[in-house]
Amino acid sequence: MPRLTINGKEVEVPAGTNLIEAARRVGVEVPHYCYHPGLSIAGQCRLCMVDIEKTPRPTIACNTQAVDGMVVWTETDRVKETRRSVMEFHLINHPLDCPVCDQAGECWLQIYYMKHGLYDPRMTDEKVHKPKAVPLGPHVILDAERCILCSRCVRFCDEITKTGELGIFHRGDHSEIGLFPGRELANPYSANVVDICPVGALTDRDFRFQVRVWYLDATKSICPGCARGCNIEVHTNRRRPHHAEGRRVARLKPRYNADVNRWWICDAGRYGYGAVDDKTRLRAPSRREGEAVADATWEEAIAAVAGTLGRLRPDELGVIASPRMANEDLFALRRVLERRGIRRVGCRVPPREPGDEDDILIRADKNPNARGAALLGLDGDAAAVLAAARARQVKCLWVFDHDLLASGWPEASVEQALRAVETLIFTGPNANATSERAHWVLPSAAWVEREGTYTNFEGRVQRFRQALEPLGQALPAWDLLGRVLVALGAPAAPPRAERWFGELAAAVPAFAGLSYRSIGDAGQAAATGPA
């Protein structure tokens, strides 16, 4: 392990660490554009110059590995002067159109100009003109004049997705990023190029012109789109809601986690939040009698559901839980099942189409918490519950999240089962064909409206935080289940997700010793091996 000195501070780093990363360890930021820790070294932006003692002139930090005894200075006069020069070169042909650029506020040209540039502009000649507002694919739009040709996006498509859609064409100051004419940037990870673009060249078509980034709040979360559990940030627009036509989630961004998703997320996950604010949201508890649907109060709904659960024999009760529910919800549900001795419980419902999968991030299992459900003993095949319903053994069926009518099961057989039960209860954030058949609907909060944990396919327990208030009267599923539990005679139910998790950790061996604090931002492995 080489030990070196950076700005007078000693640091020991693993062999092979470059000077940008080594400097990070002592809290020193070396400005850079082309370097990205997840991509190969390009060395072309020339901004990350540092002084190394016994080296005649400043050297790029990205391509210099730490060596034992190296003495590095990142703020010498000539380094600062070189940075200023390089900033000027980066900007001479830039259109300086910040007022109409989505990247404004999170643009590294702006940030570094303020920090390291601040020269007087002296380029008065006609700038080089290049294509503007070119859609590259479903999610990404290019302004080649804003591009600083750092090649991060090209390297991403070459090295991460290995799809090679992008290239740098021509040469000299006419060089430009682009696609082969007629092709699209449509790989399943395409929008990551927006994240890694340090400037406003590649922007997000979905987010474009929606809101200024400085009005956004960021909340740490977990993508619920598949069993990977990619770490994300949820960016919400609470300060300028009138700019978004009721759309509260402005965008999702990947959040680095070395063990899960590194810097990336897939497009399906990134744009998978539409259901949070769409028209199908269930805003209030409701009751259906015949064709008539009427809102109900939570008191009425809880009393009715608890009454039904309490009235019927346990073997007349069936529950289809969901691998989309958080661990806390599933544990609260388990308490309800235990209290009533309910044994007809399933969770796994086959999807109509098999999920796509790759060797990057995307998992075929599109549920965020199938592993958690399994660790909680709730992963039984829901087919048995449905079969029992069809056989008229089940009088009350409580379905969480699933649209059984859109599942891999034959619609007629689902239809038959739903018709056979006397009381169908549905809990979920969004309406679907199944919820429309329910006698009682107990709306649950969407994942961004509450906190909780998911256990990913590798058994990693990860926290997601609350970014927004629940829409309408929706409640976190653990909350409404806790109310049912109390209505069934339990003395009390935990008032917060964290407390539910504490009870879960105390009760389920796989979660023993875990807490919200220990899980932290990066997640923690459940004890998933053979006990």
Binding site: I41, Q44, R122
Partner: protein, 408 residues
């Protein structure tokens, strides 16, 4: 001062490019001798010769060869840079056309020294006739059994890009990519073409090798200066009476080259400036030409030996117009990889063009100088530093000509 012609000894024979002629004048004897030498001994002989790279950088050739990692067991490649393109230079064209077997024999010897089993010869795409001549020589050498017995030669044609004369740009191009130079480290001798240790040498450099092996490193060293051995081929063009390629000791002075070999200055007969080493070499004024043409002699004079392309300008030449031509060239040929070079070659070209077109502003000259100085030394390869040489020297040495245009 001209002494013996070594590289050009056969140039006057009409059949000099053929194997028969080459053999008739002692060709491939050095290869026979080298086959009896240990690889390390060959490298030592070349080191002793003080042969320095004649493509532009002037790096000691034997030292370069010795950078191949000792324990390496995989392939090693020898790559010949025949991507001649430095404005004012045309010597390699002569060597490829008139003595291709000298290059092949040099390659055989160099390959033995560095243990390369494959040699690539990268010929610029515009050189059709030189390529045909060289390719024919390769076929002759295969037929005669020089090649194909432990050493193969692949002739590769470029496609039009000056930057491919830069050794790592050349390697990228050889690999089927844009000619973007590669970040160093790793250096080519460690990880070069196709990821393997690679030595890239210029045509003329390698063409010297048979003579060094034949007559000894000490003999070669004695032909030159203390720090650079041998002769080299000077390409002389511009306003001289007898433009052409001249072989002379590297110890010749620029004045001798212009006056004695090239027949003196034409135009109005009075010298204004000379580019001594291809367009990337800073220009010298008429009073700066009593300088030896070796690498260190020209470096000490504030310019560089480069590719030994000497371009002579008499007093009637407009230096601003000459700089416009040069600045256009660098803007056109910048590969676009490193920001300072990509952006400022275009910017400086625009400023120079404005000045020449009579739309200059008084601050332009200082801006050009400042921009050029700020970009110097900040890029992956030497291309931009090569552009800075003329930007700075033309303006600093002939500032009044630029100011006269701006004042108009």
């Amino acid at each position: 001062m001209t002494g013996e012609r070594i590289l050009m000894r056969n140039f006057d024979r009409p059949d000099s490019h053929t194997l028969a002629a080459y053999r008739a004048t002692g060709g491939y004897a050095a290869w026979a001798k080298a086959q009896g030498m240990e690889p390390a001994a060959i490298t030592e002989e070349v080191k002793a010769s003080n042969l320095r790279g004649l493509g532009g950088a002037g790096f000691p050739t034997g030292t370069k060869w010795s950078f191949i990692p000792k324990g390496h067991t995989g392939p090693v490649y020898l790559v010949i840079n025949a991507d001649e393109g430095e404005p004012g230079t045309f010597k390699d064209r002569y060597l490829l056309e008139r003595d291709p077997h000298a290059l092949l024999e040099g390659m055989l010897i160099a390959a033995r020294a560095i243990r390369a089993a494959t040699g690539f010869v990268y010929i610029r795409g515009e050189y059709v006739e030189p390529w045909r001549r060289f390719d024919a020589a390769v076929r002759e050498a295969y037929d005669a059994g020089y090649l194909g017995k432990g050493f193969d030669v692949v002739v590769h044609r470029g496609a039009g890009a000056y930057i491919c004369g830069e050794e790592t740009g050349l390697i990228s191009s050889l690999e089927g990519k844009k000619g973007w130079p590669k970040v160093k480290p790793p250096f080519p001798a460690i990880k070069g073409a196709f990821g393997m240790p690679t030595i890239v040498n210029n045509v003329e450099t390698i063409s010297h090798v048979p003579h060094i092996i034949d007559r000894g490193g000490a003999w070669f060293a004695a032909l030159g200066t203390r720090t650079q051995g041998g002769t080299r081929m000077f390409s002389v063009s511009g306003r001289v009476a007898r433009p052409g390629v001249y072989e002379a000791s590297v110890a010749i002075t620029l004045r001798q080259l212009i006056d004695d070999l090239a027949g003196g200055v034409t135009g109005n007969g009075r010298l204004k400036g000379v580019v001594p080493g291809g367009s990337s070499a800073p220009i010298l004024r008429a009073d700066e030409i009593d300088v030896t043409m070796d690498v260190d002699g020209l470096r000490n004079a504030g310019t560089m030996a480069g590719s030994a392309g000497v371009v002579v300008m008499d007093e009637t030449v407009s230096i601003p117009e000459a700089l416009l031509v040069v600045a256009r060239f660098y803007a056109h040929e910048s590969c676009g990889q490193c920001t300072p070079c990509r952006e400022s070659t275009g910017w400086i070209y625009k400023m120079v063009r404005r000045i020449v077109e009579g739309r200059g502003r008084k601050e332009d000259l200082d801006t050009i100088l400042d921009v050029a100085r700020r970009g110097a030394g900040t890029t992956i390869c030497a291309f931009y530093d090569g552009a800075v040489g003329p930007y700075l020297s033309y303006i600093e040495k002939f500032r009044d000509e630029f100011e006269a245009l701006i004042a108009k």
